[in-house]
Symmetry: C2
């Protein structure tokens, strides 16, 4: 589901790990010659293992694997997705892993009748279905899920159209200035500017009766480059599917919040579910949307609202008048997560988990088979290493998620299912969604992993690369600089930006619900998004435009493999709470600056937020993190006992759990992390220190003051854990 290129762009705008570490100038590396978390002796062995790991992935094997996994449409609950669960399980077994399957039965709608007619002026029936390009062997395959927005309700409405740009809250402020009201209207929004689920949510809050979302060629069509089949971008009849569940409230099966969707578990009736849109939602191609847009009058759209269609964009309302009928088939569908396990030799109860989703909207060549295949390559390589006698220090779990696209179903249900065990055992979760699309590395992670991520990227060479971009660190820094260019008050970045984790992929339940240090990573190119969530994210497109030689697949396997090896074999977990704490201090400063802009009566309220207390708690957390890292480094310089290492590792694992507030965030108790959450009105986009920040955003300073005390308590808990006191 994750959209790497756009996500990276969004990160450039977010406050996300840019400041403190960049001020330091270089990654805070471990003692010379040692890999972070490893003693000198262990580093030498690790270096040799990494050499083997990097040599292991084969483009040919990856392509064969890819061909199987993209051979048929395989959305969650489809026959081929169930077959692929067997396929992945068999491969894991073949590699020498212990395999387990976890099945869930989730509420999942499939699309029935969908019809959109323009009643006037100049009535026409729109195409609605995704275009089948003539001669395309993939578009004709049986079993393709028609274009729809998952979790839209059924509906039958008629109304005038209002064009709402991206359909985010700021756009409705602009509409208000223009004197335009969407009550009783159908809104037409373009994809982009936020996670799609925000669009119907905000539209409904403003009284709209339905929401149509279309792909403007400005975002991923001809404005960006040639369209498929002449290039990788989105053609006139191609449609972006996608979920519109209100995931910032909670992800997973909407009928079982906080509980696994297993037999006997309590399920909410439809009318009690809070994460379903209240109005019908349907995606559309720009071929269809242009018909509507050409029939709008009213004010010319503000310049920033205009896309790349060859028309004058008007806002409406009307005269375009549209009838829209959607019939959704809600039912229970079968979901299968497949887990392959290598039990650790020294610390079997410290788990490193890596996951990638297996399900796809259609063929999923890029999203997420490309990621899954690179994970498979790592499992295969580790299987070979096992045969040669290696065993990891910690336990490693490879997980093939199901139902990610509809709402992180597989990962959320699994985390809810095994919460107690995972809370006790998982040291780090590594996420691999789509992300073998080019040579540019990117990563978002808890900020204790920032130095680790930088060093990891430095360790991976790009084959056939130029002098300027010889490692993944270089491509990452280059892209980060493009996205946050040097300007007044912002010197040129010295380090790549490690984004803060929002949502949109399977790390969400791990981090936000139970406090597991998490890391997302991927590789992207410049042209990889044009077929996102369409029928044309298929092998032809992928092999022609994205990774013809499977070299990015190999590169992705290398970086994933080295990451897992380091995490699993390091004597001390490479978690740096000093880096984390310094980043938290920056977030606090941000929010404080924002709160200081409050005026009048609000200014007095804003003063009651205990920023000094937060700063002081974050300072203590930072110092405790530094002290623990130093203690770990002196241990590694000597001959530490297993018990001494185990004690530090335990503290490093558990400090993150302390950042979980059991009561959860205001109005969304499923989200419990006090530092990270997806924004209620941004979706994928993160809100750091969300309890305080979203209250300040909303001008609710009393709530912000309450939430500040929650943050202070959590930081103090974590500090005590780091201190071992």
């Amino acid at each position: 589901m994750k959209r790497w290129r756009l996500e990276l762009i969004a990160l450039g705008l977010a406050t996300a790990g840019v400041g403190w570490l960049n001020a330091q100038g270089t990654p805070t590396s471990s003692a010379a010659g040692r890999i972070r978390g490893f003693s000198a002796a262990a580093s030498a062995a690790e270096t040799a293992r990494e050499r083997d790991m990097k040599a292991a992935p084969s483009p040919k094997v990856a392509e064969a694997d890819f061909d199987v996994m993209t051979a048929e449409p395989h959305h969650a609950g489809s026959p081929y997705e169930i077959k692929l669960a067997d396929y992945v399980g068999d491969r894991f077994k073949e590699f020498g892993l212990e395999v387990a399957r976890y099945e869930y039965s989730v509420l999942l709608p499939w699309p029935g009748e969908r019809r959109i007619d323009i009643l006037g002026p100049n009535p026409i029936k729109l195409q609605v279905e995704e275009e089948k390009l003539r001669g395309d062997q993939w578009a004709d395959k049986p079993g393709i899920l028609p274009a729809y927005n998952a979790y839209s309700p059924s509906g039958d409405v008629t109304g005038e159209i209002v064009y709402v740009n991206f359909g985010v809250p700021a756009d409705y402020e602009t509409l208000a200035k223009l004197g335009i009201d969407v009550r009783g209207k159908i809104v037409l929004a373009r994809y982009g500017g936020s996670w799609r689920g925000i669009k119907p949510k905000v539209a409904a809050e403003h009284g709209a009766i339905a929401c149509i979302i279309y792909s403007d060629p400005h975002e991923d069509g001809y404005f960006q480059g040639e369209v498929f089949p002449d290039g990788p971008f989105r053609g006139p009849g191609m449609i972006q599917r996608g979920s519109v569940m209100d995931m910032p409230r909670y992800p997973g099966d909407p009928s079982t919040p906080g509980r696994p969707s297993k037999p006997g578990v309590e399920r909410l009736p439809m009318d009690k579910i809070e994460t379903l849109p209240t109005i019908p939602v349907q995606p559309m191609s720009y071929r269809d949307a242009e018909e509507i847009l050409r029939r709008l009058k009213g004010p010319v759209a503000p310049e920033a609202w205009r896309g790349a269609l060859p028309i004058t964009y008007h806002v409406g309302p009307g005269p375009a008048n549209v009838h829209m009928k959607l019939v959704m088939d809600y039912g229970q569908r079968r979901l299968i997560d497949v887990v392959g396990k290598i039990t650790g030799a020294v610390a079997p109860d410290e788990w490193i988990v890596v996951g990638s989703h297996r399900d796809a909207w259609t063929f999923g060549a890029s999203d997420s088979v490309s990621g899954h295949v690179s994970m498979n390559s790592v499992a295969r390589a580790m299987g070979e290493m096992l045969k040669k006698g290696w065993r990891p220090r910690r336990t490693i779990l490879f997980v093939s998620w199901d139902g990610e696209e509809q709402g992180l179903l597989g990962s959320t249900e699994w985390v809810e299912d095994l919460a107690t065990e995972l809370s006790a055992k998982v040291a780090v979760y590594v996420n691999r969604d789509a992300g073998a699309g080019g040579p540019t590395f990117g990563s978002s992670a808890v900020h204790s992993l920032t130095p680790f991520a930088h060093e990891l990227a430095q360790s991976i060479q790009i084959e056939g690369s130029t002098a300027n971009t010889s490692t993944l660190f270089d491509t990452w820094l280059e892209r980060s600089r493009e996205q946050s260019p040097a300007k007044d008050g912002h010197p040129m970045l010295k380090l790549p930006t490690v984004g803060a984790l929002g949502s949109g992929s399977d790390y969400t339940a791990f981090l936000d619900h139970i406090g597991i240090p998490s890391m997302d990573m991927g590789l992207s190119g410049r042209d990889g998004d044009g077929t996102y969530h369409s029928t044309y994210d298929n092998p032809d497109w992928f092999k022609k435009y994205i990774d013809p030689q499977f070299k990015f697949s190999v590169l992705a396997a290398q970086v994933t493999g080295v990451a897992l090896l380091r995490l699993a074999d390091a004597e001390l977990l490479p978690l740096d709470y000093e880096a984390y704490g310094n980043q938290i201090l920056e977030y606090i400063r941000d929010i404080e600056q924002q709160a200081q802009q409050a005026t009048g009566a609000s200014a007095a309220d804003a003063k009651r937020i205990d920023f000094a207390g937060m700063r002081s708690a974050a300072d203590a957390f930072t110092r405790a993190g530094a002290a623990l890292r130093q203690r770990g480094e002196s241990l590694l310089a000597g001959t530490p006992s297993a018990a001494a290492l185990g004690d530090i590792n335990h503290r490093l694992m558990m400090a993150e759990r302390d950042l979980i507030e059991p009561a959860g965030l205001p109005d969304r108790p499923w989200y419990r992390h006090v530092i990270y959450a997806p924004g209620l009105y941004t979706g994928y986009g993160v809100k750091t220190i969300p309890g305080v920040r979203e209250a300040v955003d909303a001008g609710n300073y009393a709530r912000a003051a309450d939430q500040a005390t929650v943050v202070i308590r959590a930081l103090r808990r974590a500090t005590r854990t780091l201190q071992g006191s």
Copy 2:
């Protein structure tokens, strides 16, 4: 020729009078109840006269006048333009003015054969001619000058196309980074981003063999709003004509730089003229340009380069291969300026000159008949006042310019013709180009006129206006704030921006060649530019979309009339050299900051520029200006002698002449003003303190240091004049 809306946008980016006066908060107004330059008694009489003036203009009369002046195509040298000279002269006579005609014979090319063929891939012959919309009575009129770029040479070339965006120097830096060379190629540039004449100049400097300039719908077509006849914007077949003479070197007849084009004057042979492009240049519609752009490959154009056509913009070179043949008919054409004079009663040798151009590319409904008609309304109103016994204190000249469109021909030749007399007598030149297109006022002027311009705008009410925009000051401030929005380091503007004068209209010779305080002004709307320089700048378009009731024509007459009354009748000229000096100090600071960014060896060179000396000279100038204003105000509070007033007025007039450096600017001796000039590579856009600034821009610090001494000398001369010493 002037393009108000775009010009105003450009001003938002320029450093132009925003800083010092805005820091003051309100216009530096004269003593309470007095109009700037008037004693209390005279102010009362002036207020009454202004009331008459504002009541005088009639929409009906204006429309009748407009209908005559737009009845036929009337480019310079055409039969109807000559007829209109008689018409305007007759009107001036009828109003009671003394009329004189000034004729010149200028070198002026008319277009012959123009042919552009795409040789491949998929050969086609392009339309080249402007589209005649079916049923349009105006497009079929005989005598319309075909679409061409005046002063292009003839040529017959074949080459591959490179798309160069706006074709400004920065675009060629981008091309260099892409590894693309235009040598031997034909460049395709879009209109916008600079004055059009810069495009072939820079293209030729980079080795291109021809230049095509097209109107992208992003700039003034459907991206901005509905196209004619459904709206005011540029349709697919409409073409922008325009001059490509190198006016930043010198304007006017290219064969007689610095001399009037009269019988017997020395004329340069064609091969000695420096202001003609060296490569053929032709404008094009987007209907034709799309055919070329669709045939380009090579890199996808950078995002900022992409227009609004429904294609992927590529840079090339090729494979589009184009044959272009232009035959230009260079010949001597007849030019007629018409002058109407009202001789002053008290100070006949202090002249206030107002001018508007009569010639047009075709019908010139907006450009510049709308402006000329409002000037005619003022002449008529003053004629009525003369009949009632009023005589202005100073002499007023109304001038109807010819040949403005091809290169400010009429005004330049006239100033060169009468330079000695004008230098001695003209107190202020007021320019009225196109500019009756809406309720939004705008003005650029020498900065001694900044307070005058602000007070003038405050004095004109807009009929039927809302509370927020009841005077021209309000609409001007609103637009200025849109263009320079408040942001970090830039508080919200308190005063409208008075732009610095660049070029592009008939004030150029007055200000830049002989140092006459000048002021340009106009009214604009939001939708007025779509037919700029096309056949469709005609009465149908104008009456449907721009000024159906001729109320903006009346408003334009009111503001012009009040300006002239104030300038002509004030006991003391409303020139404030303190305001001017403070603005100059800001320009010096700007340039100094830029020079401080020089590094290495350049930094040492940059240190040799005598910024301290410039600051000190500008300080003295500023103080002398303040002292003279205070002296004037005390005089007006008493009963001053005519001699005392005359002395101050003389100093106010002549101080501007002292800012003329007789040797002129480096490499362009015709431009002699040390504070204002059009940029050599911006065209219309101003470069303030051009000798120093352009040298710093170019990293030529030795020249900058020389030019700084020129500026210091000029400021000292002017200071002595203001001091009367």
